[in-house]
Amino acid sequence: TSLTPKTALLYKFNRSPSESLKEINNMIKQGGQR
């Protein structure tokens, strides 16, 4: 069964790794393309 598509990416101040921000930036750069 395919997972429900992610509707948002999260980052927690002082908790999440920098990688999470890179993931968000990539998502924005791709403009939401899959």
């Binding site: 509707t7 980052y11 968000i24 998502m27 924005i28 939401g32 393309q33």
Partner: protein
């Protein structure tokens, strides 16, 4: 005979790699603690700032927002709709106010 020798050699190699991995785990914990101590040192805390000029020089010409928020504050970016130029950021704190600063050279 060769296979048995290979087996012995591989077992010894894996033992070495296991030790190396444990050492790296130990060093990581130690370094994380060291960074925490350095950042919490009162003198270092006083001098741990970046000027607006520094930031503007890193992103020449862009509009810049600086966000200071309590640890644990959640930043959520919804998946943008394909083809629509609409982007969103939600900030949600449970433990204190969030400060946002608009920094612009002009």
């Amino acid at each position: 005979k060769e296979v048995v020798e290979r087996l012995r050699y591989l077992e010894a190699e894996i033992e070495d790699l296991e030790l190396k991995e444990k050492e790296l785990d130990q060093q990581k914990l130690w370094l994380q603690q060291s960074i925490k101590n350095v950042k919490e040192d009162s003198t270092n805390k006083h001098f741990s700032y970046i000027t607006h000029e520094d930031i503007c020089d890193c992103f020449n010409g862009d509009t810049l927002l600086a966000i200071q928020a309590p640890a644990g504050t959640q930043l959520e970016v919804p998946l943008p709709h394909v083809g629509q130029k609409k982007y969103q950021i939600n900030l949600k704190s449970n433990s204190g106010p969030i400060h946002v600063l608009l920094i612009n050279k002009e």
